[in-house]
């Protein structure tokens, strides 16, 4: 049964702006599952908003909706979508807004939670759920209005492997009930088992198939060298007033030019560990860490250390990309030319005079990283730098890492999945323990 159809839709953000969609056509039948991939900034999220009917800007072309069709849209960041504090209240929000009586709410809320396999008490606080459970809660909060189409915006990047498995099971069950599912996704491979239509959105057009950009840059293999930049004795990572988050039964050491990957599920303590190494994690019991031979403390390492946090576009503030890069160079008294050199090297020179805030997500991500890489830190900490990056942008990321390591920089990358990287060490956070694998070093193709 045909539920929703886009017929020759054209859309842009203003008459002078480039087209986001050109003559876009898509038909959604009940029980189907569509997976839309495309480079960052190609308009995948905008397409989902258009399908959901929440796009308030005008567009050209036809949109056919089955009478009374409801779409449920689950956006990317759970933190901005969870509006209440208990599971029941969260799911019931949509029912309140459609004036369902209080007595009718409970069975409907319970049914929605059952459909996503979330068996928790209605008054349990949302804060206690894992990220995977929160994601399913967001789906339940949409299912409670009985939509016929469910729209999911990039679920893979924010979930760890167990979260993805749970989501796959939910999608299968919903499809069996006849619901249509449309998702935008960077990594369509993860949904091969459930999706039956794969699309790629590129230059405003929607074509069958998966978007796949071949990438060419490989991580270069460097051998660790003395001196050691980071050391720690065995430790227990504990927030003040709470239990141990994880412990490291063995000492850790990172030498010059090493590449360390730090792998763990959401909430296992990866970001906190990186922040502790940078000396900015507060409320933790003292850790026996030494960075460049001294105890980490905010700001003491100056240009020696760089930290890229999650959603790095948060740190952008200058008027142009070039100024963004040269900010730290000026503050650390380094030659300003290093900024334009790096932009040239990365093939981003064309963006030099653009405002960082008008760039696509992937470009912003790279600019934020370049603003750290340009001052050539000796230790670079990257917290989940791959989130939301497509392969073209990944190439530039690897280029920067290669060039930095060539100059003697050590890099620690955190991620919630194991990476096929030429890492010298892999630190794994499993069940509250930090385990160390020394990797055999060989040049491998990455991606």
């Amino acid at each position: 049964m045909r539920l929703l159809e886009l017929d020759g839709v054209n859309f842009n953000y203003g008459s002078l702006e480039p087209w986001i969609f050109r003559d876009l056509t898509l038909c959604i039948e009940s029980g189907s599952c569509h997976c839309i991939s495309g480079p960052t900034g190609s308009g995948k999220s905008t397409l989902l908003r258009l399908l959901s009917g929440l796009q308030s800007r005008p567009f050209e072309g036809g949109v056919y909706r089955r009478r009374g069709l409801l779409c449920g849209l689950v956006m990317q960041d759970p933190q901005v979508q969870l509006l209440r504090q208990t599971v029941g209240a969260e799911v019931a929000f949509a029912l309140e807004n459609t004036a369902v009586t209080r007595d009718d709410m409970i069975p409907r809320v319970q049914k929605a939670l059952r459909r996503v396999g979330l068996f928790v008490a209605l008054d349990s606080p949302i804060g206690n759920l894992s990220l995977g459970q929160k994601y399913r809660l967001m789906i339940a909060a949409q299912l409670v209005s009985e939509p016929a189409v469910l729209l999911l915006d990039e679920p893979w990047a924010q979930l760890d492997n167990s979260g993805v498995d749970e989501l796959l099971a939910v999608i299968r069950a919903l499809r069996a009930e006849g619901m249509a599912v449309v998702m935008s996704e960077h990594n369509p491979d993860a949904f091969k088992g459930v999706a039956d239509h794969f699309w790629q959105l590129q230059s405003g057009r929607l074509l069958p198939g998966q978007f796949d950009c071949d990438h060419h840059v490989m991580l270069t293999d460097f051998s660790p060298e003395m001196p050691t930049v980071f050391t720690t004795d065995p430790f227990e990572f504990r927030y003040q007033g709470s239990n141990t988050l994880f412990s490291s039964p063995q000492p850790l050491a990172v030498q010059r030019r090493e590449l360390v990957t730090l792998i763990g599920d959401n909430g296992s303590g990866k970001s906190s560990l990186l922040k502790a190494i940078a000396g900015i994690q507060s409320n933790v019991y003292p850790l026996p860490m030494k960075v460049f031979g001294q105890r980490p403390k905010a700001g003491v390492f100056g240009q020696q250390l760089g930290l890229l946090m999650q959603r790095p576009n948060r740190q952008l503030f200058e008027a142009t990309v070039e100024e963004e890069l040269s900010f730290s160079l000026r503050r650390f008294g380094l030659p300003i030319d290093m900024a334009s050199e790096l932009l040239e090297q990365l093939g981003l020179a064309a963006l030099a005079q653009r405002s960082p805030h008008t760039l696509s997500y992937g470009q912003q991500h790279l600019v934020a990283l370049a603003s750290l890489a340009c001052y050539r830190p000796s230790l670079l900490l990257l917290d989940d730098p791959l989130a939301g990056l497509d392969s073209a942008h990944l190439d530039k990321l690897w280029m920067m890492i290669n060039s930095l390591r060539k100059d003697g920089c050590s890099v620690i990358i955190s991620c919630h999945r194991s990476l096929p990287l030429a890492a010298t060490q892999e630190w794994q956070l499993v069940k509250g323990e930090l385990l160390v694998n020394n990797m055999c070093r060989e040049n491998r193709r990455v991606g």
Binding site: G72, V80, A298, Q315
Partner: protein, 226 residues
Amino acid sequence: MWAKRRQPLQSKISSVNDASGLWLAASAMLMVTLLSSAAFLAPQSALLYLALTNVLLLVHGLLCRGNIGGILRYIVLQLGFTLLLYVVIHGGQQLHQGAWAVARLLLALLPGWWLTVVIKPQWIGEVLAKIMPVKWAFVVAASINLLPYMTSELRDIYQLQLLRGARIAPRQLLNPLNWYELAYCVIFPLFVQLLKLAQQTATAARSRHFGSHPQPTHWRDPRSHQ
């Protein structure tokens, strides 16, 4: 247009489970407003009764483990400062007038302190939500809900820029010239995030039919039915 209907505020939630609690909170707020106003308006002769009432509130508040330290420090400072002004201006002849005035200030503050100690924030929130339009009640609730997120954004951005060499370490901020750096590097990106957050939260709420019905109902966690 937004319907001017009432919806309970889900702030700091675990909603008030019984109507009597809500009434209690509302009465307490009304009483506190009256008592505070009385401290300014009551004639001198009624002050003793007002003081006695306040002593009761003080004892109750202290029994409920309220900390009166902040108020006392403030009052002592005010007393010292006011009396100093009286000495300078009136030559120490009307000191008692100054002391009475500060005593009235104390009487104006005590009921508010008692309210904060005795009545839970969410109860006050629910009472306020009853008198607020539905949209603004939602806004207050969402804002309080997102406060931890906003403060962690602020902290993250501050730390990121500090590591990038911005002159915003506490010691450097003693120099007001560096406040501009703080505005550029931290406050500006923070507002960028807040604008985005407002947009996303609004979309999230609208995607769940917020504002589509003039008379929304409200959820109560099942335990409240027991």
